[in-house]
């Protein structure tokens, strides 16, 4: 049969297959969907941070126009078979408080749900929710995690008797010895402010229940349909096989849709109780209270070093504000950075202590980078403190300490498989024009310019690609870290691909099509990628932690290889040769030294008709692969930020941002650049603009997009990107994760630049976000020039 040269796709900037519907308004986000007979839910939320609930009266709400039903937390208290879950209780004695979808005894943060009203329309539900009467007895709030651990702090969970949730420790090497003998030490303390993730699509759900089948379906704006199905089956006490979860088009996540939320469980219970489909869509200001926050840490770091700048030991301590309850990964989020507090540096002694405290605030959880931005910030800020103390150039200090031989086992116990930290820094210095920048800085200082130039570095590594299941088990995570894919070659020549990851902007449909189209030699538009529906693909562990390509993509690659292996047997049989005589290249098997050939697509048709298959072979050409990665994925790189700081006003101008990342082989460079652009912007936003602020009574004063500054195009700049490559040796595509690198790297680069600009004024730190007021304060406190 005739063959043609198949196109190659891997590594090319293939335009996205996802775009057409998104560009023309034909996407299906959750709020775009309606189901026949659907009613609307509105949740009554606590205006208080901490209060005893004396009475909830839904009578007036029930009588309001269009209302179908109204329930207090107590009305539904027996509907829950289990608490809302936390998948990672990080120590054997981590305290997990009961967390019902609606509170019954006390409210513990502003926004805690106390009742729900269901009505025929969105507006009627909202109107009626205002008629619910709640008698609260206000209790004192505690927002700061250190204050929450004080003896006289108000206790959130009376049955626990303490706000202390866990203390997690990790040590490697001779920490006492190294710190006892090191000639140089530095100790720094920083604040990681609270952040609000702000995916532009708010959350939302639609739940249905079919009494005749006893089956539930939940459509949810979620990153994790598979994990959601598993946990909701447990929370509701229903057989998992009777619950289908679908993630439709999802408008961004950044960790905020990586959770098992009260509203998801509530909608299912209400759909069954009422006998009608139930929809709930979050309003943005509601989401600021009801959707997880990120960060919220006090951080301390000590370095022990030799006089020439060689770092020998790190010792860090974090006190983390968990908020009022443990959401899905609340306790584990700071621990996700737990192994990388040595950064990309060769450090022989390692000590980390993480303390989690309950506070009367929205729970914190995984927000883009989850634990690793916090780690990188602390490492890189302290690195500059050491450089100042030793009067060394910050780039040279980093270079002196980089890990250069791979694989390298960290003092924390994990092994970095590959990297090129030196190459990334060299390239970044070249792109930034480092020597010229230092010259300009010196000239400005000499001339007394009121706009000071600052140059900030962040050289980083991170562990992502979550994750090897055995390691997850050893660190008490309740699930595995594998992922799965199915490749099905259809008889008419196209290929169906089912993936266990669940994209919400990352372009999996395109990237994964590229892998399959190239390996099977089919045109890319003949590959259909199906995701986000637990009925279509039961196996999967979804999308977070920069895992989709490094885990799910490898599952897919291996599934395609299994298809090729079976196709080889089909072709060998048809061509009456040995499988060993067949050479395979991009979809075509050729018999060496002859013109005999057959494609995978032809083999798919033969496998389908099954007219002439080898004895005992199953018809059909399809394979599933479940891939458990042997190691985490280890991206790294060097970012340089250049700022101008106006010493009279405290205003900061971003002037230049250079990012050189090492993320292994790249499947689609355009998509990868986009991930890095977005990640950098979120990290810069933490440095300069964003902060969730509570007042002393526990009111979220940054309660809407008017008071919480999500940056626009007007605040941001173009970034200069490049890459160096040290392909991962632990997977056949040599890929690593990229979804979080920008956010992990960028925040300290910006603050280091600001502090560098102001160092002649004695400034050694600027509180984040470095808004003009905070810069001005740092200048006042810094001492005289």
């Amino acid at each position: 049969m005739a063959t043609t040269e198949a196109e190659t796709y891997i590594g090319k900037p293939v335009p996205r297959k996802e775009d057409a519907k998104l560009l023309t308004g034909q996407s299906r986000f959750i709020d775009d969907m309606q189901v026949m007979g659907m009613v609307w839910a509105s949740i009554v939320r606590s205006p208080y941070a901490h209060a005893k609930i004396n009475r909830v009266d839904v009578t007036a709400a029930r009588e309001s126009e269009g209302v179908v039903a109204a329930f207090s937390g107590a009305d539904l208290a027996d509907d829950w078979a289990a608490t809302l879950p936390c998948v990672w209780l990080v120590t054997e004695d981590t305290k997990q408080p009961m967390h019902r979808p609606l509170a019954t005894d006390k409210v513990r943060y502003q926004g805690d749900g106390v009742a729900v009203v269901i009505a025929e329309s969105r507006a009627q539900a909202k109107d009626a929710a205002e008629l619910v009467e709640v008698d609260y007895e206000e209790l004192p709030a505690v927002i700061d995690p250190e204050a929450a651990l004080a003896d006289d702090a108000p206790i959130l969970h009376d049955d626990l008797g303490t706000n202390h949730c866990f203390t997690w420790k990790l040590e490697g090497g001779d920490v006492e010895g190294v710190f006892g003998s090191a000639p140089v030490t530095v100790k720094e303390r920083y604040r990681q402010q609270r952040l609000i993730p702000n995916a532009i699509e708010p959350r939302g759900v639609i739940a249905t229940y079919e009494p005749a089948l006893d089956e539930y379906t939940l459509w949810s704006a979620t990153q994790i349909p598979h994990i959601l199905r598993f946990w909701l089956a447990i929370v509701l006490g229903v057989p998992e096989a009777r619950l289908r979860v679908v993630a439709p088009d999802v408008g961004g996540g950044f960790g905020s849709k990586l959770n098992v939320y009260a509203e998801e469980a509530l909608a299912l219970v209400l759909a069954k109780r009422i006998g009608r489909p139930v929809k709930w869509t979050e309003e943005r200001s509601e989401g600021y209270l009801a959707t997880i926050h990120g960060r919220d840490q006090w951080q301390e770091m000590e370095y022990a070093a030799d006089e020439d700048g060689k770092i020998r030991g790190v010792r860090a301590k974090l006190v983390v504000g968990l908020g009022a309850y443990l959401q899905l990964v609340t306790a584990g989020t700071p621990i996700l950075g737990g192994w990388v507090y040595g950064g990309p540096y060769d450090v022989e002694a390692y000590s980390l202590e993480v303390i989690g405290a309950f506070t009367t605030a929205t729970p914190t959880d995984a927000y883009r980078g989850a634990g690793r931005p916090e780690a990188t910030f602390l490492i890189e800020r302290t690195m500059d403190a050491l450089a100042r103390k030793l009067e060394m150039d910050p780039a040279e200090l980093r270079r002196k300490n980089f890990i250069t031989e791979f694989p390298y086992t960290l003092a924390s116990g994990l092994t970095i498989d590959s990297g090129d930290f030196v190459g990334a820094l060299d390239r970044a210095l070249e792109m930034a024009g480092y020597e010229e920048l230092r010259k300009e800085q010196a000239e400005r200082r000499a001339a007394g310019d009121t706009k000071e130039l600052g140059i900030g570095f962040s050289t980083y590594t991170e562990m992502c690609g979550l994750a090897p299941s055995r390691i997850l088990g050893a660190i008490l995570y309740a699930a595995g870290g594998w992922d799965a894919a199915t490749v099905r070659c259809l008889p008419t020549g196209s290929v169906e691909v089912f993936i266990g990851t669940s994209p919400h902007g990352q372009g999996h449909v395109t990237t994964f099509s590229q892998i399959v189209a190239e390996r099977l030699g089919v045109p890319i538009d003949q590959v259909e990628v199906i995701h986000g529906d637990t009925t279509a693909m039961q196996l999967g562990l979804d999308t977070y932690g920069s895992r989709s390509l490094a885990v799910g993509g490898i599952a897919l690659y291996n599934a395609a290889e299994k298809v090729i292996a079976k196709a080889r047997d089909v072709v060998a049989h048809k061509l009456e040769v040995s499988g060993d005589d067949l050479e395979y290249d991009n979809g075509t098997f050729k018999v060496a030294g002859t013109d005999k050939a057959m494609t995978v697509r032809d083999a798919a048709l033969h496998a389908f008709t099954a007219h002439d298959l080898p004895d005992g072979m199953e018809p059909g050409l399809e394979a599933t692969f479940v891939y458990d990665p042997p190691n985490f994925s280890w991206p790294g790189g060097a970012h340089i930020c250049v700022v101008e700081v106006d010493t009279e006003t405290g205003a900061i101008d971003l002037r230049q941002y250079v990012a050189v990342d090492e993320i292994g082989n790249v499947i689609n460079p355009t998509i990868v650049d986009g991930q890095i652009h977005g990640g950098i912007t979120q990290g810069i936003a933490q440095a300069l603009w964003e902060e969730a602020i509570y007042d002393e009574d526990g009111n979220l004063t940054t309660g809407s997009m008017l008071s919480y500054l999500v940056p626009s195009a007007a605040e941001t700049i173009d970034y200069e990107l490049d890459r160096v490559n040290a392909p991962s040796p632990t997977n056949p595509l040599g890929v690593k994760g990229v979804g979080e690198t920008g956010t992990i790297a960028s925040t300290p680069a910006v603050i280091n630049a600001v502090v560098d600009a102001l160092s002649p004024y004695g400034v050694t730190d600027v509180t984040m976000p470095a808004k003009p007021e905070n810069v001005w304060r740092a200048l006042q406190e810094g001492g005289a020039k």
């Binding site: 775009d19 560009l23 023309t24 507006a123 532009i200 200001s285 355009t670 986009g674 977005g678 173009d718």
Partner: protein, 152 residues
Amino acid sequence: MKTVGITVNGESHSAEVEPRQLLVYFLREQLGLTGTVVGCDTSSCGSCTVLVDGESVKSCTMLAVQADGHEVTTIEGIGSPGDLHPVQQAFHEQHGLQCGFCTPGMVMATISLLEESPSPSNEEIRHALEGNLCRCTGYVNIVKAVKAAATA
């Protein structure tokens, strides 16, 4: 209830609306034009941007009754998957969208910008789009897309 006559994407509609009905919900829930989406409750994010008589408007800041007698253009009215508007085409080619939720608003705001200023500088583009928030792209490729659309 009030009766309004609104032309949407060239088609005239007569409808009964509640006086408090926002234009965006009229488009989404009464006409089924769900391409215009709602991302906030403070008119901050711009996801609901449409054109009213050719000018960009956040359709959450306008009541349906205020659109009575006016012409509204939504994302559904400017191009289709097989026949993209030059601005849609430029966003596709420059990778100016990721999750795509803010995209309809961003595209409509861009159309309005290019009407007023056919060859804007990067600086102008960034300021003109400051009412439209995107959390995915970091705006780098959005600015490129607007530039590309301007020269298309």
